[in-house]
Amino acid sequence: MARITFQYAVRRLHLYLGMFSLPWVLMYGITAIAFSHRDWFKGEMDPWTIEGEWECSVEVPAEGDVSRSTGAEILKIAGLDTTAFGVYRPNKDTVNINLSSFWTARGLVYKVDEQKLTLRNRSKLTGHILTGMHVRAGFHNGGSLNNLWGIIVDVVCAGFTLWIVTGILIWWRIKRMRSWGLLALGGGFISFAAFIILL
């Protein structure tokens, strides 16, 4: 059995964290293309399909955010029993409840002034699937699976930082690579700083 030294632990952390997080790393790499090249993913959205309509008189505050408990109340009117949802208020007369999914856009629209509730869905464009996956944090949507996704996203974010730190520690042990590595590291930091100043 290998002796556990600091270097050994650093190498194993670098490796195993990478192996576990690999799908997320690839996902973030690939989905970032949709942000960097928005033009490549333009398209016509399908029209919304209405799944149901209800009268609704749930009271919401005159302005500002709508609470999750109010969102849950609205969901009940539509016969939906889920804790995984997000409540957004695009304007004072509308409350949107998003039932997040990677593949389809589905949600409730509550028109407060008309006291009307609509459940609708439509397919997402490829660009929206990619950007949706990239920006999905998890914690805001509620539900245990969403929270677990949020935790893994945190681990991956911390992982990116750790890969740099552990990568530098691993590189420093390779004496022959120090000068070229310093050049790369220094070049990276100098170019980054130049961008910050000049952009």
Binding site: M19, R176, G181, G188
Partner: protein, 235 residues
């Protein structure tokens, strides 16, 4: 069967890279395969790409990871659940009498004003040069807001906020702006994207070469992949 391959990128003879504490007198087929010069050279290059891309792009990776944490837990860091830009502070107010080209658009007028104020770069302009023009010169280290009205410009500078600074860099792409620096930044972002994907594949290659870690590494890889597929199906 080789135990591991030492990260000795500078070895004059690539064969020296392959270490084996228990190489039998008659090398196994796998050992022979792994020590073929072509494979050793390929392995060396894969390791170099993995290492040097990581070192050069370290600032970008740190920026993306730290800003992601800042965005996901914005409320904990800023006290606001939504993005609240830091306030602008008036820097100077001065007359501006230089005429604009006939039928100048808001963007053309804004470009002229920013160049005259030594603030050239990516911007957004609202309004009209005939009445009131508000130009936001987006910068990570503090944006400027220039308001042109009644032959006068008011230059305001945004206060620095670390969370906002990181978030602004994270969201910045670049190709949309007509400035070389913005295009170069966008190219750098694309390089980071390619590197992230390349790190995944070069990492798999390097893991597979370390025989001792194949089992646990494979377990971590399968667990992560299954969990990811489960999420795709269920949430």
């Amino acid at each position: 069967m080789p135990d591991y391959i030492v990260l000795d990128f500078g070895a004059s003879n690539p064969r020296q890279c392959v270490m084996d504490s228990s190489t039998p007198n008659a090398p196994s087929e796998e050992h022979r395969r792994s020590t073929r010069p072509s494979r050793v050279v390929l392995s060396k290059w894969i390791r170099r790409i993995h290492l040097f891309a990581g070192l050069f792009l370290a600032p970008w990776v740190l920026m993306y990871s730290l800003s992601s944490i800042g965005m996901i837990h914005r409320e904990a860091f800023t006290g606001h659940s939504k993005r609240v830009p830091p306030e602008f502070v008036v820097e100077r107010v001065e007359p501006y009498n230089k005429p604009f080209a006939e039928d100048a658009t808001a963007d053309q007028a804004a470009t002229q004003i920013l160049e005259d104020l030594d603030l050239a770069g990516g911007f957004k302009a609202r309004g009209s040069p005939d009445s009131k023009l508000v130009i936001t010169r987006d910068r990570a280290i503090g944006s400027h807001r220039v308001t042109y009205e009644n032959a006068q410009v008011t230059v305001e500078k945004q206060k620095f906020g670390l969370n906002f600074f990181l978030e602004m860099l994270h969201r910045r792409s670049g190709y949309q702006e007509p400035y070389l620096t913005n295009d170069l930044w966008a190219i750098a972002v694309d390089v980071v994207i390619i590197a992230i994907i390349a790190w995944a594949f070069t990492g798999i290659w390097m893991w597979w070469e370390m025989v001792r870690t194949r089992f646990l590494g494979g377990l971590a890889f399968i667990a992560g992949t299954l969990l990811f597929i489960l999420f795709l199906a269920l949430i």
